[in-house]
């Protein structure tokens, strides 16, 4: 296996149940550095649970998740939190911006959580707002901006720490197609520019088209497909 083939993130035989409902039933997949990977599947298939396990948010009942050869399940909660602060970024369906903070403060938040001083954090946040073309909403609160703008702010927040992996859970699910396209174009472009891998959970083929590769989840099991043209 060459270094290029070596996965940045890998899930091996993951099992996870919520009460009597199995969410993952032996899911296995790999994420390479810098690639955009779409995790597809119908509603309730276990896509989001797989993403949460990969990001170290949820511990699988069985199976292992490796990030750069370190097993996430073996890490303490504090270590996984530190990993999420420094190496991972997140975009959720409804942005999930902190409503009381301004957009600038929202983007600066992960940096500040990582100990960066406020002025420096806001300088870097401003740069990312510019790259995502939302500088005009910097001083506004999330309740005062549109859904598309909010999602772009959320993308800026995910990328501001220069993460190695961005986890995006249905990032365009709440947007119209035009805004969705714009968010995806900016997300993937910025990720490719910074070299971040993107794990993109979606059930829309149109969104998956931005990925290099697809993993299909059905009934908690995964099936990897061939690389598609970028």
């Amino acid at each position: 296996m060459t270094d290029n083939d070596k996965p940045l993130l890998a899930a091996v035989e993951l099992h996870k149940t919520y009460g009597p409902t199995p969410a993952l039933d032996g899911a296995t997949m790999r994420v390479r550095a810098g690639e955009v990977l779409a995790v597809m599947g119908p509603s309730g298939s276990g896509k989001s649970t797989l993403l949460h396990c990969l990001a170290g948010i949820v511990r699988p009942d069985r199976g292992q998740v490796f990030y750069r050869d370190r097993e996430l399940s073996a890490m303490s909660d504090a270590e996984r939190s530190a990993l999420r602060r420094g190496e991972f970024g997140f975009v959720f369906q409804f942005g999930q911006l902190v409503p009381e903070l301004t957009c600038l403060e929202n983007v600066a938040l992960p940096l500040r959580l990582d100990g960066v001083r406020r002025r420096e954090a806001e300088r870097r946040a401003t740069e990312w707002l510019e790259r995502l073309e939302v500088t005009d909403v910097a001083s506004k609160r999330p309740g005062e901006i549109s859904g598309g703008q909010g999602q772009r702010v959320a993308v800026a927040r995910a990328l501001v720490t220069s993460p190695r992996v961005v986890f995006a859970d249905e990032p365009t699910g709440a947007l119209d197609s035009l805004n969705g396209e714009r968010v995806m174009r900016l997300l993937t472009a910025a990720a490719r520019e910074t070299g971040a891998a993107v794990v993109l959970v979606t059930h829309e083929a149109r969104v998956a088209a931005y990925s290099d590769r697809e993993v299909v989840v059905r009934d908690g099991r995964t099936r990897e497909t061939e690389l598609v043209a970028p």
Partner: protein
């Protein structure tokens, strides 16, 4: 726009109520929380509405058993009379009401609560006393009842409260000198009113305690407000206009209030079953005493639902419910200060004309004006606080992430925070004002007794019982032999008259006090430069020139009632010395004689006074002394000497205030906790997202603490200012110099800060549970 008809109002209110019922488990849960919250407040209001009935019933029972017919000539002995001796005593810190009954005829009256009169050696005891006597705790009290046989218990009609210690002891040797004759029990209830200062205190206490409860109820009807806002947005989507949604929201609050009324009634009924288990400051109440006055109960039943609807409508003023969601207009129009200032100013305007008008005696207080003034000042706190919080947090910037999250949250919705701490602020403001007033007027109610506890711990006075022929010397010996008694100064009191003295125009003979005791005891009562057995002294103030028996003059010695029983000649070597204040604070002038100078016959009827010093466990020693004295003569007095004494009512009101404020703060703490938990639950998903970013638990913990602490701090500042201002006005009302009571401020603020810390501590487990990543599952 047309005004909605009453029918429309009714339909919309009903729809609002139905939405709560049909809103699923969570909706029902929130409705139940609101009902419990309102219910707690209603229950407290019902208790407050019962206080007058409780006090009246207690007073009425006390009057019905009254045997002290003051100002009435005692009846002549007959078949319908009896002698009643007061055998009141104390056990530990609890008073014990005791009566010795000696019927003089077959038709002697029976005290209320007794089926018949106890025979000699029989005793009826209260149920609480029966329990105490049967328990190991009552071991030291048993001897005091003189081995009487318990033949039954006193019924409720004969007791002030269920936990009162009381007994009626039958006797066939009670002497008239130790008793009073009566032919009936009971006196009309005379409502001895409170003096104006106490009335002012009680009025303010009620307002201070009840207003936070009203604020609490206002908060409770808004439990689940955010979920309700989303429901309202959905209603707007299907075509409801703004006023309709407001009425529907009011309907939801109304259901909470109605359920709260029912819950409050249940809490009240359940709680009053427990009332007999509690005794506060030796006062207890029967369950049937605790019933609200009908007028006040009706007022509560009407005011709570009406107020809940009004609160719901007011709360929606700053909320815009649009079809696609709810927007809080925090960034909209700023709160205006002018009308908020009008309330406390109006309150001050009502109170200031009363300055100097309230005196302990010879004045009256207008309760309506005082109530309105204090109410407006305290309501002013609730009006000013939202403005203060909004203004105070607006400029907060910088700081760590936890601080930033907290301050931004406060900036976004300061009203919710202000609502949270309004009750605390009112309670603290009122508490500070009352502490100032109490400190200021305490001088009126705390008096110096003149007693010197450094010289003696106990004062004992008893009359030698003719029935058993015990002498004063024997009483002193018994006291010396009592467990825990270290030292006894005992003296025998009698009277002294010149032999053959003629009565004056009123029939009185010139009489002087005669005290017979050893030198050590006499030194406690007079300034003796030297003293030996055989000495006698004339103890009078130097300026007192009243004619008295001279040395060598024959005199008659009598008992304190003046009945002569022994002749004596005033010794030639009598020395004149000035008196000294006795340990009990009295000054005894007269003739002092040592036993060597006067061998007193000590017939029955003489009084023996003793000052005792105790050692070791004083509380237990006091009980032993009481038993010793009761065996000599049950109708005796045993006092603990103390330098100061506080008026009973004043002390009770002060204690009541402290308990009340504490209970109110606990209730408000519960309200704060519920509101905090509710806000955390509403932010469950956001918390999970923050966890996904790797937010530390400590960051969120501090954030929650700041979020509560900042408004509480601002509320406390306002409370201290308003409370001190109210306290100053109240002090001026009673013409007392204004002095800030820093202890009171520190106590009240500390208690409030403790409540905040407690709320934060109790909410942390929920916060940490909500910070688990499971919250993302619904994403």
């Amino acid at each position: 726009m047309r005004r909605p008809t009453p029918g429309r109002w009714g339909r919309d209110l009903a729809l609002g109520m139905r939405l709560v019922v049909s809103g699923g488990r969570e909706s029902l849960l929130r409705g139940a929380m609101a009902a419990v919250g309102v219910g707690l407040g209603v229950a407290l209001l019902l208790v407050a509405a019962s206080i007058s009935t409780m006090l009246h019933d207690r007073t009425a029972r006390g009057a019905a058993r009254d045997d002290m017919h003051l100002g009435v000539e005692a009846p002549a002995p007959g078949p319908r009379t009896m002698l009643v001796g007061q055998f009141d005593t104390s056990y530990r810190t609890a008073p014990v009401r005791g009566r010795i009954l000696r019927p003089e005829g077959a038709d002697a009256p029976v005290p209320p609560g007794l089926p018949r009169l106890p025979g000699p050696g029989e005793v009826y005891v209260s149920p609480a006393l029966e329990r105490l006597l049967a328990s190991p705790d009552g071991a030291l009290l048993r001897p005091r009842l003189l081995d009487a046989r318990i033949v039954g218990t006193i019924g409720a009609t004969g007791l002030a409260g269920p936990n009162e210690y009381a007994f009626y002891l039958g006797s066939d040797r009670l002497s008239e000198a130790d008793a009073q004759r009566t032919d009936h029990f009971g006196e009309p209830v005379t409502g001895e009113g409170l003096d104006p200062i106490l009335l002012l205190l009680v009025t303010v206490i009620f307002l201070v305690l009840l207003l936070p409860i009203a604020v609490f109820i206002g908060t409770a009807v808004r439990f689940g407000g955010e979920r309700r806002d989303r429901r309202l947005a959905a209603l707007r989507l299907v075509g409801a206009d703004r006023s309709t949604t407001a009425r529907i929201a009011a309907g939801e609050a109304l259901l909470g209030a109605l359920l709260g009324l029912a819950a409050g009634a249940l809490f009240f009924l359940a709680g009053r079953q427990l009332v007999e288990r509690f005794t506060l400051w030796n006062i207890s109440f029967f369950t049937h005493d605790v019933r609200p006055s009908p007028g006040l109960a009706l007022l509560i039943a009407l005011a709570v639902p009406v107020a809940s609807v009004a609160v719901a409508l007011l709360a929606l003023r700053r909320v815009v419910v649009e079809p696609l969601g709810v927007v809080r207009r925090a960034a909209g129009a700023r709160r205006r200060l002018w009308w908020r200032l009008l309330l406390p100013l109006a309150g001050a305007a009502l109170l200031l004309p009363l300055v100097g008008s309230v005196r302990k005696e010879g004045s009256s207080v207008n309760p309506t004006q005082v109530t309105a003034g204090v109410l407006l000042l305290l309501v002013g706190v609730t009006a000013l606080l939202p403005w203060l919080v909004e203004t105070g947090v607006r400029r907060l910037r910088g700081g760590p992430v936890s601080w930033q999250l907290a301050t931004r949250r406060l900036q976004l919705d300061s009203a919710a925070s202000a609502r949270m701490v309004n009750g605390v602020a009112v309670a603290v403001a009122g508490g500070i004002a009352l502490q100032m007033l109490f400190s200021g007027v305490s001088g009126n109610y705390v008096s110096t007794t003149g007693q010197d506890p450094n010289r003696a711990d106990l004062f004992v006075e008893t009359r030698l019982d003719p029935a058993d022929g015990v002498t004063g010397d024997q009483v002193a010996e018994r006291l010396r032999g009592t467990e825990g008694v270290r030292e006894v100064f005992a003296l025998v009191r009698g009277t002294l008259q010149p032999a053959g003295a003629k009565p004056d125009a009123d029939g009185n003979r010139p009489t002087s006090e005669l005290l017979v005791a050893d030198c050590a005891t006499l030194r406690e009562l007079a300034e003796l430069d030297r003293c030996a057995d055989g000495d006698a002294f004339a103890v009078f103030h130097p300026v007192d020139q009243t004619p008295r028996p001279r040395p060598g003059q024959p005199v008659q010695i009598g008992d304190p009632e003046g009945t002569a029983f022994q002749s004596w000649t005033v010794p030639p070597g009598l020395r004149r010395v000035p008196p000294r204040t006795a340990p009990d604070g009295n000054i005894y002038t007269g003739f002092y004689a040592t036993p060597g100078a006067l061998r007193l016959a000590q017939p029955p009827g003489l009084r023996v006074v003793a000052y005792l010093r105790l050692g070791g466990d004083q509380e237990t020693a006091v009980e032993h002394v009481r038993n010793t004295v009761a065996a000599v003569n049950p109708v005796s007095q045993v006092w603990r000497l103390q330098a100061t004494s506080m008026g009973n009512r004043f002390a009770n009101i002060r204690r009541g205030l402290l308990i009340g404020v504490l209970a109110t703060l606990l209730l408000l703490g519960a309200s704060l906790l519920v509101t905090t938990l509710e806000q955390l639950r509403e932010r469950r998903r956001l918390l999970a997202v923050l966890v996904a970013f790797g937010t530390r638990r400590s960051t969120m913990t501090w954030s929650v603490l700041w979020q509560t602490a900042v408004p509480v701090l601002l509320g406390l500042v306002l409370a201290i200012v308003t409370g001190s201002a109210l306290g100053a006005v109240l002090l001026r009302l009673v013409e007392t110099p204004i002095r800030l009571n820093w202890t009171g401020i520190a106590t009240m603020s500390g208690a409030a800060a403790g409540v905040v810390l407690g709320v934060t501590a109790f909410s942390l487990p929920v916060l940490w549970r909500l910070m688990r990543p499971d919250g993302l599952r619904t994403e």
